[in-house]
């Protein structure tokens, strides 16, 4: 009915990101980690001098800088984790899709086999009925031969007035 390759699965491999972009983003975020932290501290006027801010201000500036730095560190790793998550999700999507396709193909093959089986069974049934009908005709012919043979012998006797 169809060519041989008609039932070949089309799912071949999961489609994943290479990770280049994610690694670049992580490097960028890691680079910003030090910059944002240091910049925040310097802007607070850390150091000695008149109106340059006391140690308390310097300490608060340091903490704020650490927070900014930690934000970038989080962003750096979160990007890579998102990359790993996307790949894991793609793995599952691919496995599910491939399994669905395999089962759909198996269902199609079953339908095909049912069609062929019904066709063959119908052909066998017709062949059986044809054979039986032919056998019936042969048997009727043979039975008629038997009857004719018996009547012939009877007729011969009748010809001589003996039957």
């Amino acid at each position: 009915m169809f060519s041989t390759g008609s039932y070949t699965p089309t799912y071949d491999a999961p489609i994943k990101a290479t990770g280049d972009v994610a690694r670049r983003m992580r490097n960028d975020a890691a680079g910003q980690m030090a910059y944002y932290g240091d910049n925040r501290q310097y802007n607070q006027g850390a150091g000695k001098g008149i109106a340059a801010g006391g140690k308390g201000a310097q300490f608060r500036a340091a903490l704020t800088g650490d927070i900014e730095s930690a934000k970038r560190a989080t962003a750096a790793n979160a990007g890579m984790l998102d990359y790993l998550k996307d790949n894991a999700t793609e793995d599952l999507r691919y496995q599910s899709g491939a399994a669905d396709e395999r089962n759909s193909l198996a269902s199609l093959l079953l339908d095909r086999d049912k069609i062929n089986t019904d066709f063959n069974l119908s052909r066998q049934k017709r062949r059986m009925e044809s054979d039986l009908a032919q056998a019936q005709r042969d048997a009727s012919q043979k039975a008629a031969d038997y009857a004719r043979s018996a009547r012939t012998s009877q007729s011969l006797l009748g010809l001589f007035g003996l039957a």
Partner: protein
């Protein structure tokens, strides 16, 4: 004697063995947690952004270090929770997909098993119908042959008795038979 019936009976095919449902179903969908490797460990753990230098601010430096460790600890916990949540959700979906996969295979396997059973049954029906039909025809032919043989035997018997009666014009045990109608019997009467 009539010839033997040379009735050709088509061969009856042997019905195939009944197949069994094996029930060997499996799925390729894994249900293990996906994020467990060294990369996951590397990207979900943070070092403190500040380490106490051992001088300078003194107690304030230690405080800043403690604050930085608290930051990294909370980040680690948040990341671990995020990874765990993703793993659990992924495993739930994988488990559901795996169950559907196996269930579809079971359904298809059962349908195919039913088709095979129906095929076996239909072939057996055809073979049975053929065998019974051929047996009926053979019986009819046998009856016809026996009837013809009986007729031939009856004719031969009549011929013999008629022939004997030709030589017994006075009657006798065949007086009431067919002898009175014979040609020679008529001439002799």
């Amino acid at each position: 004697m009539l010839p033997k019936p040379k009735f050709k009976q088509p061969p009856m095919k042997q019905a195939p063995a009944t197949p069994g449902l094996t029930g060997n179903f499996g799925s390729s969908i894994p249900t293990a947690a996906p994020l467990t490797g060294s990369q996951t460990q590397q990207y979900s753990q943070f070092k403190p952004v500040y380490e106490p230098q051992g001088g300078g601010f003194g107690a304030a430096d230690q405080t800043r270090g403690a604050f930085a460790r608290a930051l990294s600890d909370s980040q680690n916990t948040a990341m671990a929770g995020d990874v765990q949540g993703f793993n659990l959700e992924n495993q739930r979906k994988a488990q559901q997909a795996r169950a559907q996969d196996v269930q579809q295979q079971r359904q298809i396997g059962t349908d195919r098993f039913g088709m095979q059973r129906q095929t076996v049954t239909a072939k057996a029906d055809i073979a049975n119908r053929r065998a019974q039909g051929m047996a009926d025809i053979a019986t009819q032919l046998d009856v016809a042959k026996k009837n013809a043989n009986a007729q031939a035997l009856d004719n031969a018997f009549n011929f013999t008795t008629s022939a004997l009666s030709l030589f017994n014009p006075a009657g006798g045990f065949m007086q009431g038979g067919r002898a009175v109608g014979g040609i020679l019997g008529g001439l002799m009467r």
